[in-house]
């Protein structure tokens, strides 16, 4: 990519110029120490000043690079959203025009309707994700609507939805809980929690290389309710385990690039879970070895 290439060059420029400035300041500092060896007051004052300058330059460079990265991610996000919005619209339009312009057999016609329905779902899903992410970024306070949400019931509902959406076999997603019939409820917004769990399930299916094999476990060992979603998909490199929850961030790599996404899903999951006073984290033994996402939510008594 030409644009990305240019960006990388500009990052390199700032790193080099930052390093040069730091080196210069260090050299001046050493010179100062050598020149003012006998004057203790000047020596100390100079060293302090130089340290301040060096720290300033280092911090400045770090912030600059971070800002460039953020811009880059924002561009990638805009591209991804454009694609996610335009592709289903293109498809729906194509099928509508086809139905309008050509004689289509009854069976084929039904197929076309299904395709268009799936595309409207996709469109709606993208719009909802973007709106949800906007809300998540704007308000980090308590959820607006709260009620008692039965987590195991909600999780099973999400599983059914995912199975239908991706046309999966029943055994592609396994469910197990260790609640022994106890009620595991959370005080919160059912819609939001459902969105968080669905996002994680979507990821588990999307990032499974060929065969989808996901297992979901719900437990309530202490004051928390634990929802664990394990897949045998493409995995996550160790350095990316925290970053994937950042807004717009998408893990780099050839395998990851095969899956399309906006970089919002996990950000939404994290903000929803945090809003409910819980936390979420990812584990993976590495690329190609699957990943596990765990949500902890405080149990309502």
């Amino acid at each position: 990519m030409r644009v990305r290439g240019r960006r990388r060059k500009s990052v390199a420029f700032f790193i080099v110029s930052g390093a040069c400035l730091v080196a210069l300041a260090v050299a001046l500092n050493v010179g100062w120490i050598l020149l003012n060896w006998r004057e203790v007051a000047l020596l100390v004052l100079g060293i302090i000043f130089f340290c301040v300058i060096i720290t300033g330059v280092v911090l400045n460079t770090i912030f600059l690079i971070r800002e460039i990265r953020r811009n880059e991610q924002h561009d990638a996000f805009i591209n991804a959203v454009t694609h996610e919005l335009k592709t289903p619209i293109t498809s729906i339009r194509l099928y509508l025009e086809t139905l309008k312009a050509r004689p289509v057999e009854e069976k084929q016609r039904a197929e076309f309707y299904d395709v268009m329905l799936a595309d409207t779902d996709r469109l709606l899903n993208t719009v909802e994700q973007v709106l949800r992410a906007g809300r998540a970024a704007a308000q980090r306070r308590q959820p607006v609507t709260t009620s008692m949400v039965d987590i195991s019931e909600l999780v099973r509902e999400c599983l059914d939805l995912t199975r239908v959406r991706y046309k999966l076999d029943d055994d592609a997603i396994q469910y197990a809980d260790s609640l022994n019939g106890q009620r595991a409820a959370v005080l919160g917004d059912a819609d939001e929690i459902r969105a968080a769990i669905t996002n994680l399930l979507d990821n588990a299916v999307k990032y499974s290389d060929k065969r989808v094999k996901v297992s979901v476990a719900v437990a309530a060992p202490d004051k928390n309710i634990v929802v664990r979603i394990m897949d045998e998909g493409i995995g996550i490199p160790a350095g990316q385990l925290k970053r994937i929850f950042h807004r717009f961030h998408r893990a780099p790599g050839r395998v990851m690039a095969r899956v399309k996404g906006t970089g919002l899903g996990l950000f939404i999951v994290r903000s929803i879970v945090r809003k409910h006073g819980g936390r979420v984290f990812a584990e993976s033994e590495g690329v190609g070895r699957g990943s596990t996402f765990t949500i902890l939510l405080p149990r309502a008594s």
């Binding site: 592709t87 194509l94 395709v115 095969r258």
Partner: protein, 246 residues
């Protein structure tokens, strides 16, 4: 029956396109990524008469696939499809070797018309190539699909070939169209904007500097010293001028 290759990773779009093109009477093959498309075309270069290429593909993107094809000497007509419809994306598509470019969402009738256009042009060129070889060394023939000869160089518009400096260069359709236009206006000053609009039908806020890249490439093909052009001259601040004789 013309054969068309669709390279599109979105199944819904690929299926919809296939249905329509088959209804138009074409032989259609659809693949989901650039790598498969490249290997199909390498296996049998003559199999497809046109190609519909999506840009956002998994692995190698459409731009990369097009330039890879062109640099390996494969000249199947390419219609590029993409969600990115800004002028710099369009130009990037053309620079990478596409013959036509259609932003998503597109109108079905326009898409089919454009594919027909590509196939028709290819057919004309084929007819030209199979016809009896044009008599060589005509001095300054009128540009058409006839070969154009100037200062020891020959441009064969029928075969999209340029014979110069003892070498044969395959021209892309866009390069050939630009050359044809310049030759047609021989001696006149042609503005960059006119070139964009008249040759490729690009309008609005298109970046006219893209023309410069084409000119640099064309100069490399036939100027003895590309840095000191004798035929394709820059007219500072305006555009270019083509001069056949030294």
């Amino acid at each position: 029956m013309s054969a068309i290759l669709i390279v599109e990773d979105e199944n819904h779009l690929a299926d919809g396109l296939r249905f329509n093109l088959e209804a138009e009477g074409y032989d259609v093959e659809a693949v989901g990524d650039g790598e498969t498309a490249l290997s199909l075309l390498r296996e049998n270069p003559k199999r497809f008469d046109a190609m519909v290429l999506d840009v956002m593909l998994p692995g190698r993107n459409g731009f990369e696939v097009a330039s890879e094809l062109r640099s390996s000497g494969h000249f199947v007509p390419i219609l590029m499809l993409t969600a990115r419809g800004q002028s710099h994306d369009v130009l990037r598509g053309f620079e990478s070797g596409a013959d036509d470019y259609l932003p998503k969402p597109f109108e079905l009738s326009v898409l089919i018309a454009r594919i027909k256009g590509l196939l028709r042009r290819r057919e004309w060129f084929d007819r030209e190539t199979h016809a009896e070889p044009a008599t060589a060394a005509k001095e300054l023939t009128a540009p058409g699909t006839e070969p154009f000869v100037f200062a020891g160089k020959t441009i064969d518009f029928g075969r999209l070939e340029l014979h110069a400096k003892g070498q044969v260069v395959r021209l892309t359709l866009m390069e050939a169209q630009l050359l044809q236009y310049l030759i047609h206006h021989e001696g006149e000053i042609v503005s960059r904007k006119a070139m964009l609009e008249d040759v490729w039908g690009l309008r609005e806020d298109t970046d006219t500097r893209a023309i410069d890249n084409f000119v640099v490439r064309l100069r490399k093909y036939f100027e003895t010293e590309p840095a000191k052009p004798e035929h394709l001259l820059t007219v500072r601040g305006v555009g270019y001028r083509f001069v056949a004789k030294k």
